[in-house]
Symmetry: C2
Subunit: 369 residues, 2 copies
């Protein structure tokens, strides 16, 4: 027997991996917003819903017995997909696929419809995970800059690609392109259009009907935001059955655990609970935006559960982000060209937003020019 390895002393040659794929050498991986272990933090940085999920969801969770854990779950999530179909106005489960979070479905869209080497289109700025997923898949993400007011430009409509991530409402701007723009894009784009509706329950309208009319459209939803279920990893995609059949080929055979299936079903069955939470968030969003505008921030009208608060004054947005963090108030700061002058603030409860605003006012008075 060789001598046992001394732990903590992995040989140095390992730091450069012999077995890695060249493709992965430059990939850094996605960096999620911070999840503090301390509970005294006011957490307005990862767009979670500040209100709890439906009590029916907890009931569904707690009523699961040993048999549900012991046996394999339904590999095709039929009950959940049937309930989704009914809720979203589709005739049957074969228009729906369920995912272990919408992130899994985004990755799956690339694996299912994009060959390595192909081009993928997205507007910039947008959800930064797309770039990581494209790098992992060996696809090229072609960004087209949004205009000065974060609107889509003609160049976006004219850029050919195999697949487009169309984020509506967009993150981190909070703005939703008009439905007319979406429809025009779906009609002209010769490839798969993934309409990322992660935040759409907070918006005035949605595009859930478009898969009925366009064979190239996939609408994706997450349960993380509006349903207050970020911890459960639940997402769905809606598209015409031939698209869904391809997804079913490429997904992990048992991609959803038994608890996620039960919880997702319960959440959909208590849809009114989600809608009531969304109404509260929208009301707070209006109050928070008004207060930020009054303080001199430039805040695009948001269709989501967050606000992009742009700030040209002193102290800088980055200094504000850091000063707030020292007070245990977390918001999101992106060190990216067009976002350095902005904070992205999740709409929390009224109390959380008031505490944030009070801290912000004090900082502006103490540190301001």
């Amino acid at each position: 027997m060789p001598a046992p390895l001394r732990f903590g002393s992995v040989p140095r040659k390992h730091s450069k991996m012999k077995y890695e794929r060249t493709l992965l050498r430059e990939v850094k991986g996605y960096v999620p917003g911070e999840q503090p272990r301390c509970s005294k933090v006011i957490k307005l940085n990862t767009n979670e819903n500040p209100y709890p999920p439906s009590p029916k969801v907890l009931e569904a969770l707690q009523s699961l017995g040993p048999e549900a854990l012991r046996k394999y779950p339904d590999p095709v999530a039929l009950a959940l997909r049937e309930t989704c179909a009914e809720r979203y106005g589709y005739p049957a489960a074969d228009w729906i696929i369920a995912g272990n979070g919408m992130d899994e479905l985004l990755a799956l869209a690339l694996r299912t419809f994009v060959d390595p080497g192909d081009t993928v289109l997205a507007a910039d700025p947008t959800y930064s995970l797309y770039e990581v997923l494209c790098a992992l898949h060996g696809a090229t993400l072609q960004y087209v800059d949004l205009g000065p007011r974060w609107q889509l430009t003609e160049a976006f409509f004219q850029t050919p690609a195999r697949l487009c991530f169309f984020t509506r409402p967009n993150a981190p701007t909070g703005i939703a392109a008009s439905r007319e723009e979406v429809e025009r894009f779906c009609a002209v784009f010769d490839g798969i259009v993934v309409i990322d509706e992660a935040y759409v329950d907070f918006a005035d309208d949605n595009c859930m009907d478009l898969p009925k009319r366009f064979e190239n459209v996939i609408v994706m939803r997450t349960f993380s935001k509006s349903f207050s279920l970020a911890g459960m990893r639940l997402g769905v995609a809606v598209a015409q059955p031939p698209i869904i059949r391809e997804f079913l080929k490429t997904k992990d055979s048992y991609n959803m655990n038994a608890v996620a299936l039960a919880v997702g079903l319960a959440a959909l069955q208590d849809y009114g609970h989600m809608e009531a939470n969304v109404a509260r968030v929208r009301a707070t969003r209006t109050r928070l935006r008004d207060a930020l505008v009054e303080l001199g921030f430039d805040v695009p009208p948001s269709q989501t559960n967050f606000l992009l608060a742009q700030w040209q004054g002193q102290p800088s947005a980055k200094a504000l982000f850091e000063a707030l963090k020292r007070q245990n108030i977390l918001v999101r700061y992106f060190d990216l060209p067009r976002l350095r002058d902005a904070l992205r603030i999740t709409v929390g409860t009224d109390d959380e937003c008031d505490a944030f605003l009070a801290a912000l006012r004090t900082l502006l008075q103490a540190l301001g020019g």
Copy 2:
């Protein structure tokens, strides 16, 4: 507005997908063993554990509150990985990655260490999912036939590949290669060796120590079999930290939900419960094998929770499979060249196995030549 789509009449052109990847055209997807909806079935077909998981697991599940669901889970599963490290004799979490079922980790191994076009090695017959995963990734699975008594052959040791799925104990044969063979293979193989230990808790020994000595070895475990948690989708992989760092780049950012994390932790903390269940399964395995041998079946000594019962007599193995199914007794039949004369039987409870044996005896008397 265009006319609304008439449901149930997706245009015919859709049946041939315009947007599919050429790669996927021939891929059929993995076909899991049947999951009957009726509960009166004796289910010996998908290698689930017949005994319930630890009561501590249920407690952990039921003690989860709304906050655990509302907030994002720990993206790097630190608590679970730390507990795994301790349990498996490793110094820290950076030797471990957790997956949404071991199936996710198998797919991830290809995405992390194999370029499309590369060759992957496996012995034949083995877990049929490998072939599906390779096809989806665009890798070539090179099978090397096992010998007449299902043993590894020299050709297996001499076949070059980027990665090898080394299944120990193997499925569906139930046989474990000797540790000496595993070590010899790991030393000579110039690529990543994934030692699939899905069934190893039912075996006499394991290879969990090998990642300490081999920089190219990944040992994978599932909670589906020995821990009675197939419904939860929980798997772990153990390897040197540079390997784990690559995995962390390629996995979905939040691949484990909050419930799976809590349940996995509780299962590891009540390890004795799993070991007691395993001891019961092993005792039943001996009884079941003895009875099958007495009936004239050729049954390789199994290190797993199933038996491969080979049968040259009349009625054929396939006819037996079908006749048992009509009596609501499900076993697994593989319509594959070297497996057509065999049934794969999961070791159930003593009562389930007795019912199976009684039915089998009657069939052999009634239908036998």
